[in-house]
Symmetry: C2
Subunit: 278 residues, 2 copies
């Protein structure tokens, strides 16, 4: 019997019974794929669980839909990271979308997801999608005033994704957005990864005039508690809007109109206090 | 180096680095207390984590405050289980409270908590609190039309707490409540413990006219995702009320006015769907 343990900190781990499927080293990282009875197939990068068949909808829906319904008419969207394809799948549910660019540094992640996780990656070859195998930081040097929404679907801020959590990078994101553009980033767990979380919020705050943090469940991520930060230079993120109406026509399993309406409000008080401090 | 693993299912575990403090067998169960760098002191009953110093506030605040502010003027409250004292501590924050009865089957849990977890158990000897070392099921035979609020702070529905999740038991809870009384129960994790969750909701629904389910983070519990079910025969649980105003004057770290306002609404859609099916 084989078990895989993700050490979420030096003192805490999530341990899963494993049926091994694949274990390869790409140019950038170790990619490990296995199957677990409760989580389905599990994709692990450098020891950290990225996506599981059973709970990926919680992460991808909460990462993608709030920014896309907050924006009045998103047509061009960029995903940085997100090689498993889950964010792209959710983006394409919005009828206004005309173009989705995916910038993933590691092609192996895409290829392994396409071969093994079709329910997650199945929309990556949609006509509206263009895949760039590039470093997100360099990719943005070429794109100015172009996207309506940019989605930061990155791995943890250690290794290849570290640069994606710095204010100098968020400044480039801002420049790549149109004037009324919106960015959203996964910003780690406020519990067990408090430092990563606080730092991400602090850096985003340096770059954008408006921002807001929300939380959601992701059982396979540290503490089962995940955070997302939305930001813009022209849209007051925290202001109420009627974006929830657009959710009526989008098929989801996690987010609903009520979750959107209370998104930035119904956040645990200790997290609100941490945000205030940054 | 010693690690403790709670196998939350046959295929998933939470593993914590351990500094052992105590490991005893009481009349009812194994009681294990250890210290972990990220969770602080951890109390384990029969292999299942019950409470940790670092995240117990998330559980106890969400279990206690919603029912106490939903009720117009709670004076007499009963806790079944809850030997660690965390629920009692939260109840006593409400100025209307005159009497708190705690019915815990295992005195050892109380004694170990009082000796080792003073921040959690510290209010158990308050003048308003009366402790009964009894089986909750039998205790209720003697109490009719007496309590304003009853809080089911039980362990998992296996072993000594199994009976506390059956409709025949909830009927007794109803009889022990005054006419406008409210019950709230911890009802397990909707992910990883889906069967326990569905069954608890189904049984509560059989006994009470009105009910509502809400969720919250508890990192040390299965999936980090916990559920609570509130029920009453006379108070329409799902109706909006002004209970949130009472939260203004109560010091909390997790629940706040906004969380209360969207309590039964901002629930992930797949959980709402599960509730509908019961």
């Amino acid at each position: 019997m084989i078990w895989f343990t993700e050490y979420q900190t030096e003192n805490v781990g999530l341990t899963l019974k494993v049926r091994q499927l694949k274990n390869v080293h790409s140019k950038y990282q170790n990619i490990y794929l296995f199957e677990n009875q409760d989580f389905g197939k599990v994709l692990v990068l450098d020891g950290a669980i990225q996506t599981t068949e059973k709970d990926e909808f919680m992460y991808h829906e909460m990462l993608v839909h709030p920014a896309l319904v907050k924006h009045k008419n998103p047509e061009k969207v960029l995903v940085i990271g997100g090689g498993d394809g889950g964010s792209v799948r959710e983006i394409l549910k919005h009828p206004s979308i005309k173009q989705v660019d995916l910038c993933e540094i590691d092609e192996e992640v895409i290829l392994i997801s396409e071969k093994n996780l079709p329910n997650i990656s199945g929309k990556l070859r949609d006509d509206k999608v263009k895949i760039y195998i590039e470093d997100g930081n360099e990719f943005l040097n070429e794109r100015k005033n172009y996207y309506d929404v940019i989605i930061m679907d990155s791995s943890d801020p250690i290794g290849p994704a570290e640069v994606l959590f710095k204010s100098s990078f968020y400044d480039k994101v801002k420049e790549a957005l149109k004037e009324d553009g919106i960015m959203v980033a996964q910003t780690e767990s406020p519990f067990l990864q408090e430092k990563f979380f606080k730092n991400a919020v602090k850096e985003i705050k340096k770059s954008f005039k408006y921002f807001g943090v929300y939380t959601g469940f992701v059982p396979s991520y540290p503490a089962g508690m995940w955070s997302y930060t939305m930001a813009s230079d022209n849209i007051n993120i925290l202001e109420d809007d009627e974006g929830y109406k657009k959710l009526k026509n989008i098929k989801t399993k996690y987010i609903n109109e009520d979750i959107y309406k209370s998104l930035f409000k119904a956040v645990p008080q200790f997290i609100k206090d941490m945000i205030e401090e940054q």
